[in-house]
Amino acid sequence: MNDIFRNTLKRVKPIRFREPLAETLGALKEEGALDYNFIDVVKMSGHACPTVSAAYLCCQTALEKLYGDTIPVRGEIAVTVYGEPDEGVYGVMAQVFSFLTGAAAATGFKGLGHRFKRKDLLRFHLEKVDPEAMCFEFRRLDNGKAVLVRFYPQRIPFPEEKAKQLSHLLQPVLWEAATEEETKQFQGLWMEKVEHMLLKREGTERWLQLEERRGQNERS
């Protein structure tokens, strides 16, 4: 298998899941945990960017809060996206949530008998919980516990000068007019922002906030 991704992206902490559907149908040799790495998300999305990184971190942080020391279970997590599928980057982030948690929209798996239904576990809701933040709810179906994630994209730290350079280089890169040096500079700045979000995690609490929610059918 080829391995052409940047080494830094491989250092991002994976999200560990159990996947009962794969266990039941025999895709796994034995019961065990599956690691979903950030590289897997990059493969699904086709790229790494602040939005995809933020979606990964929103999901990871929410699941850590919901499951503590236990392993999250794919297919047993419902996700509500407080935005429209074609509004801004809500759809892009929802794809990452779906890929990681197994929660699917209307096109998802209908289940086998009473189990493994993934369809409609990912929903879009028009309500705006916070006018400044993109909001997402992650809810465990087994006990009803839920967390609300508030993501403030405008608060992600990045030096203004570098942001200007990035914006200046974007046009020649997109129109395939950039020199090799400009392309490298652009990629370096782009990945610097992504890696800062994923690896340094400094000041994450300023742009990613969690709050527990009382689930509708919560059981202790």
Partner: protein, 329 residues
């Protein structure tokens, strides 16, 4: 009064239905009525016929198993459309004579933008290619329609999306005029050194041309998509084809301007002249068609609630670096 003729298209596929309905409608004479029997509510057809102004449309039966549409050709409208189509054909076939142009100008005093849009759709149905219409209408619009279309234009004010599009057009046109002048100066030069500040100017012009992609994106994803939902398909399709042609050339001009000295001067000069002259000519014509036909159709068929939604979606997609600030929010 003649007895109504009936065309029953139940059970036929889309192409077969169109093959019967449109010739049938076309053949109607003043005062005649055509009954069209369909197994579903033919909303797009009703819209299309209503857009032509010279038909009275009514439902004789509305479901549940069949719909019967009565299409009566009004006596007030003469065959203005037929005359116009004939003129289009003449103009398409070659250089129009002064008499033909004058005839077209007189006729066009009574033709509005919506009718023109319908005409484009009809010509395509009759087998004229998009490309042919694009070229022929370009000539016609620039040579004949300009005054009469501009005279009939509906104006809107900020922050209406059409106003924003038209303001952006003004800036793009200024940029094209600068490109035209630069190309003229370039024709007399033999080296990059002779270009002086024009090298920087060319990069700036090309930068603004590619910045206009955001304008095209808003048109295609928001405005044209609203028109397409209302079965106004062909005019936006022709504009989108233009965008594709412009994009290729803008990209090449942008690449040349960004790294000019990587090229042999004479080759650079030849390409910049060809691309510059094409863009200055064709983009100007395209803008004229959008201002005076597409936007005018949109202003006629879309309602205030549609425009509110369009404005919101345009705000979300974002604007060009040169869009005037007062147009953005």
């Amino acid at each position: 009064m003649n007895a109504a003729k009936t065309i029953d298209v139940k059970g036929l596929d889309h192409a077969e239905r169109e093959g019967l309905i449109f010739p049938g409608v076309e053949a109607l004479k003043d005062g005649e009525t055509l009954r069209i029997v369909v197994e579903f509510n033919p909303v797009p057809l009703v819209y299309l016929l209503k857009a032509q102004d010279n038909f009275d449309i009514s439902y004789e039966k509305e479901g549940p198993d069949e719909w019967i549409l009565r299409v009566a050709k009004g006596s007030a409208q003469e065959d203005q459309k037929g005359q116009f189509k004939e003129l289009l054909t003449q103009l398409r076939e070659g250089e129009a004579s002064p008499e033909t142009k004058e005839k077209a100008r007189t006729l066009l005093q009574q033709v509005d933008a919506k009718t023109l849009g319908v005409l484009e759709q009809e010509l395509i149905r009759e087998g004229v290619s998009h490309e042919e219409i694009r070229r022929s209408l370009c000539d016609i619009h620039l040579e004949v329609l300009r005054d009469s279309l501009v005279a009939k234009r509906t104006e809107v004010s900020a922050p209406h999306p059409v106003h924003t599009f038209m303001q952006e057009h003004e800036i793009i046109l200024d940029n094209l005029r600068e490109l035209g002048s630069l190309v003229d100066r370039l024709k007399g030069l033999n080296s990059f050194d002779g270009m002086g500040e024009d090298l920087e100017k060319l990069e700036d012009i090309a930068h603004h041309l590619v910045e206009a992609e955001s304008h095209h994106q808003r048109e295609e994803e928001v405005l044209f998509s609203e028109l397409e939902k209302r079965d106004i398909v062909e005019p936006p399709e022709i504009m989108k084809m233009d965008h594709v042609e412009f994009r290729k050339r803008k990209q090449e001009l942008y690449q040349l301007s960004h790294r000019p000295r990587e090229h042999d001067f004479n080759k650079f000069k030849a390409r910049v002249i060809e691309l510059g002259e094409y863009l200055a000519r064709e983009l100007e014509s395209h803008i004229f068609k959008e201002d005076n036909i597409i936007y005018q159709i949109a202003l006629q068929v879309l309602i205030p609630e549609d425009w509110e939604r369009i404005k919101r979606l345009c705000d979300e997609l974002g604007y060009c670096c040169f869009t005037p600030e007062d147009q953005k929010e």
